[in-house]
Structures are given as C-alpha cells and as structure tokens.
C-alpha cells in the first residue's frame, strides 16, 4: 500500500475515515441516548417540550435517534436548546463532567465530519 501525496490522504479520509467515524458516532449516539433518556424523559419527554405527536413518533427506532440527538446536544451545549425547545427550563439533572465532555466531543465530531466533506472535496479538486 503506497500513500505518496496529500490527495491520497484526503482520498483515504473520504472513503474510509468519514464513513467509519460516522458509523462509530451513530453507535455512540445509541449508547448516550439510552443513558440520557433515562435521566431526561421524565422531565422533558412530554408537553410543552415535545408535542404529543413527537412523543409518539420519537418513542421508537429509528425516529428515537432524533430524541437522542436532542438530549446529547442539550447535555453538551445546554444554552442552544434552552433558547429553543427547552426554553427557560434548566434541567434538574446535573450531568457528570465525563458525560458532558463525551456529549460535547460527540457534537463537535459530528460538526467536524459535516464540515470536512466540502473541505476535502474542494482540496481534492484543487490539488488534482
């Protein structure tokens, strides 16, 4: 296996790095969502934070992933959702620093993955 240029590294990131990272993030999302929903569901998974329809549809997989993502963003960056969905209602559950850090890393990794695609495609088209 020969990697001789920067575009080779970009190509490898595109075809292997990104899919593997995103699949890993989906697995982590399931684990974090399972843990966090036990803490938040009683307080937040009802009106007025989620409408009745959302409660019904977000209860089972695959739509539950949207609920999990909401809790992860809320744990990592509470200010974002305190301005919108959970307006003005801070959580009674104080997550441990470790959980908070994992959630922050999850969100940041997801954003990096999302932003890296156009950057990689742009660099590849410029360099080749």
């Amino acid at each position: 296996m020969q990697i001789t240029s920067f575009t080779d590294v970009l190509g490898l990131v595109l075809i292997a790095g990104l899919p593997i990272t995103l699949i890993f993030l989906i697995v982590v999302q399931h684990i974090l969502g399972f843990v966090l929903s036990k803490k938040y569901d009683a307080t937040y998974f009802k009106e007025p934070y989620f409408t009745n329809g959302e409660v019904e549809s977000y209860s089972s997989w695959p739509l539950s992933l949207l609920r999990y993502a909401t809790y992860i963003v809320f744990t990592g960056f509470p200010k974002i959702l305190l301005k919108r969905r959970f307006k003005g209602h801070a959580s009674e559950f104080i997550p441990s620093l470790r959980i908070k850090l994992i959630c922050q890393i999850w969100v940041i990794s997801l954003v990096i993955c999302i932003l890296s695609l156009p950057v990689i495609l742009l660099l590849m088209s410029t360099l080749s």
Binding site: L18, T51, N52, S57, S125
Partner: protein, 210 residues
Amino acid sequence: MLGAGAASVTMVDKTFKTNTPLVANIAEIYNDFKSGKITKGQYDGQRKKILSKLKAKLGPTNLLLNGTKPLNEVIRISRKKGKKPTKNIAQQVKRMGKLSKLASRGGVLLSVAGLGVSCYAIANTDEKTEKNEILIESLGGLAGGLVYGAAATLTIVIMATPVGWVGALVIGIGGALTGAGTGYAAKNWYTTSGNKIDFAKITKVDQLCK
C-alpha cells in the same frame, strides 16, 4: 435511479415525521374546547389554521396518506356512539408514524440494494482497476450520504421546527446528489492518483463479491 428512490422515501419519512405533531395538535385543541379552556369559535379558528398549515406542509404526500380524500374529511371529530371523539386523529397519527417507519426502512433497503448492485458489478468485472473504481465510488457515495444525513439531523434538532414536503424533498434530493457527487469525486481521485492501491484486495471485497 436508486438515488431518486432514496430521495423520495426520505421525503416521505421526513414529511410525516415532522408534521405528525400538527395532527396531534387538533386533538389537543379539541380537548381544550371540551374542558372549557377555549370557546367554540376559538376551536374552529385554530382547527382551520392547523388544517391549512398541514395541507401546505404535506403537499402531494397527502395522496400517499389519505388517497384523494381531503384532510378535513379524514381528520374530523367522531360523532359515533361508543367511539372516542379523537379516534380518527389518533388513527391518522398512527398511520403517519407507520408510513414514516416504512419509508425510513425503505431508505435502508435501497442503500443495501445499492451496495448489492455494486457488489454484482464488481463480481462481473475481471479488470482489477474497474473493480476498485466501483468500490471507491460506492464508498464515496456512502460517505456523502452519511454526512448529509448527519447534517440534516443536527439541523432538525437545533431548529426544532417541522419540515414541509418541499423541505423534505430538498433534503432527500440533496442527500442523493451529495452521495452521487462524493462518489464521483472519490472515483476521480482514484483514477488520477494512478490506481496505486488495490482496495478491493485489501478489504477482501473481491473475494466477497464473486
């Protein structure tokens, strides 16, 4: 073709997923009216407003959901004895959930079908370079689709607002186009880099797809 199919199932999935709350709202305002929190006039006005909003959000996907029946006929308060007044609304919510689930599973099936097509193409090619090009294009498409899906999820979570059928169609087509574009870019990189790496052999895909 698979991309277009995936786009349409994404549209159905996202439209039903995000607009189910609007249908449930009709049952809520009916309960408010019955408990005396709002007047008959307020109930009628709010119901009319929600139905017109829902009609605009569902667009052509309503044909899949209710056939040619108009929304106000389907989502109505039941007057039958022994039947819960909001039963029709609960049924509609359930139907939307079912179709959404079916569509999201259909999307997964189409992705699996796409991988199957690639595997078949690899099996029917003797050329090492061509096998690799098909593999790289599929992996690039997978990466593009996953990234687009992640971006759509994060946007929906942060915005916390329903997506209409136009928005859902844009998400679906965007996903298919990003997948196709990324696949093309990956294949192009592999060709211009001089086809040095035999990915099909390293990943043992050439043995798997015989």
